[in-house]
């Protein structure tokens, strides 16, 4: 029976008198692949950050794995890939392997030592992400695509039940972007990892996500991509010729 991994109820976020998000309620279960799209300033990144407790919520509740966010401490079960990282120093003294190992977490944060089973998981994820030969390289010396793979490996190495990705493909070229989506799809299908992916890349996410949310400060649409294609919300988002555009990109998908 699918387990509810994330549950947002009546979520409301405001900065002063300005509403950023209002009346957001949805849930994500084991094996879900949820794509969230919306225009700039629609609150997509704020939503994902609120679900992780990174921004204060004005009202409403978020539960992770059944626990209120304020009590939640099983972070090993959650993988997160932010839109932008604060590190920008090419001399940041961390190798790819050190960054990925930060994904092994116990109640005190990143583990100092890993056991044999975790060492095997480390090898597997480095290999799966195609960065095993880069493990001793400094993270700041890698290309954007390689860095993204390393950070995805960090998010995944602890085998999370839920993976939250905030515009992960923005800095990637089209080929690397396709690879990235394939990897995420594999994780979802083979390991059952639930995915929440925020993107502007609507055409691609339509191919991969099982469920589609269109956000504009509140949830405007929540359903499958096919349902979205036939909806009035899509026309408002992409314009009146959007059906033809989507058909051109996806053929039978819409």
């Amino acid at each position: 029976m699918p387990m509810i991994l994330l549950q947002a109820e009546q979520l409301h976020i405001a900065y002063g008198s300005t509403d950023i998000l209002r009346d957001i309620s949805f849930q994500v279960q084991t094996g879900d692949y949820l794509g969230i799209v919306g225009p700039n300033g629609s609150g997509k990144s704020t939503l994902i950050r609120a679900m992780l407790g990174l921004v204060p919520v004005t009202s409403g509740t978020v539960r992770l794995l059944g626990q209120p966010l304020s009590l939640f401490n099983d972070w090993q079960k959650i993988g997160y890939l932010p839109q932008r990282l604060s590190f920008a120093n090419p001399h940041f003294p961390a190798t790819v392997e050190e960054i990925v190992r930060l994904g092994f977490i116990d109640k005190n944060g990143p583990k100092r030592r890993i056991d044999n089973r975790e060492a095997k998981q480390l090898e597997e994820i480095l290999s799966r992400m195609g960065i095993i030969d880069l493990r001793q390289q400094l993270i700041g010396h890698l290309s954007g695509g390689q860095q993204q793979r390393a950070l995805l490996a960090r998010a995944l190495v602890g085998r999370p039940a839920l993976l939250l990705l905030d515009e992960p493909t923005t800095a990637l070229d089209p080929e690397t972007r396709e690879d990235f989506y394939d990897i995420v799809k594999e994780l979802n299908r083979e390991l059952g990892t639930a995915i929440i992916l925020i993107t502007h890349d609507t055409w691609n996410i339509g191919q991969y996500a099982k469920r589609f949310v269109y956000l504009d400060k509140t949830v405007i649409f929540d359903g499958t991509f096919a349902e979205f294609c036939a909806s009035a919300e899509m026309t408002s988002f992409f314009g009146e010729h959007s059906n033809k555009t989507i058909y051109h990109h996806h053929g039978d998908h819409c």
């Binding site: 604060s86 120093n89 109640k107 944060g109 990143p110 583990k111």
Partner: protein, 274 residues
């Protein structure tokens, strides 16, 4: 004077022991500050320390107790700086600039109220190894033990916070507490380092050895050890060079650490080209 004879002097022995420990402390904490982009916090703390020392001297505290009397004031100032830098309304470096300027301004006013700049205040501003006491050495050793223990136990968490604060928080790390610990330990180090290099130069000792290490370090632990080595080498070579060349110790230590940085930067470039 024969070279080894200087090691027989008590003040040189105290300076070398305290200097080694301060070089180590500044390098270990400075690496996290630099990576965390908190480098300027050392500067803000140093300037706030100037105001605190001026206040302590105005209150007539004897020279032996100035360091200890200034510590609580600087710790409060450190928490204030951290609070300001995390304020959404004021950008971090702007907040530190405000506190720095205020610390200097208060220092100038308070020192004029106490009869102008005197020898004591100058010793704290630019360093004077003659005033390092046995108690200073013991206090610095105690702080070094605490810092080494914190880095050994929580260094990985500090490292994760320096890499990305949001990722660290979603790894279950209390990033606010990590920042407070880092800044309070830095504040204590700044106060204890002021007799060695002086308030005006202590922030350079927090920045130069870690930045030198970053030119060559590959991996977290090697860089941390390299920074510690650079910090200790800068201080020891600076003290000995100042004695041999009859130069001010604080300034000589900082020039030594700068030269070390230049060598490390050149070596780093050479390695990149190979």
């Amino acid at each position: 004077m024969p070279t080894f004879e200087i090691f027989g002097y008590g003040f040189i022995q105290r300076a070398l022991i305290a200097g080694t420990l301060i070089g180590l402390l500044c390098a270990l904490l400075g690496l996290f500050l630099v990576l965390r982009r908190f480098s300027l916090i050392g500067d803000g703390l140093a300037h706030f320390t100037f105001g605190s020392v001026a206040l302590v001297l105005l209150c007539g505290v004897s020279a032996h107790w100035v360091t200890y009397a200034a510590i609580p004031l600087v710790l409060v100032g450190a928490l204030g700086i951290l609070k300001l830098t995390s304020s959404a309304r004021i950008h971090g470096d702007t907040a530190i600039g405000i506190v720095s300027a205020l610390g200097i301004a208060l220092g100038v006013i308070l020192s004029s109220l106490s009869g102008g700049y005197n020898v004591d205040l100058f010793s704290y501003l630019f360093g004077n190894i003659l005033i390092i006491t046995r108690n200073d050495v013991l206090l610095t050793a105690a702080l070094a033990i605490v810092v080494i223990a914190v880095v050994a136990l929580r260094g990985r968490a500090f490292f994760a916070v320096a890499f990305d604060e949001d990722l660290a928080r979603t790894s279950g790390i209390n990033t606010g507490r990590a920042n407070i610990i880092l800044v309070l330990l830095t504040a204590l180090t700044v106060v204890l380092a002021m007799k060695l290099v002086g308030i005006m130069l202590v922030s350079a000792l927090l920045i130069l050895p870690p930045v030198a290490a970053l030119q060559l370090g590959r991996g977290f632990l090697p860089t941390l050890l390299l920074a510690a080595a650079c910090g200790i080498l800068s201080v020891l070579s600076g003290i000995l060079a100042s004695f041999a060349l009859n130069l001010p110790t604080g300034g000589t230590i900082i020039v030594a650490s700068f030269l070390l940085f230049v060598v490390a930067a050149l070596a780093g470039r050479w390695r990149m080209r190979r």
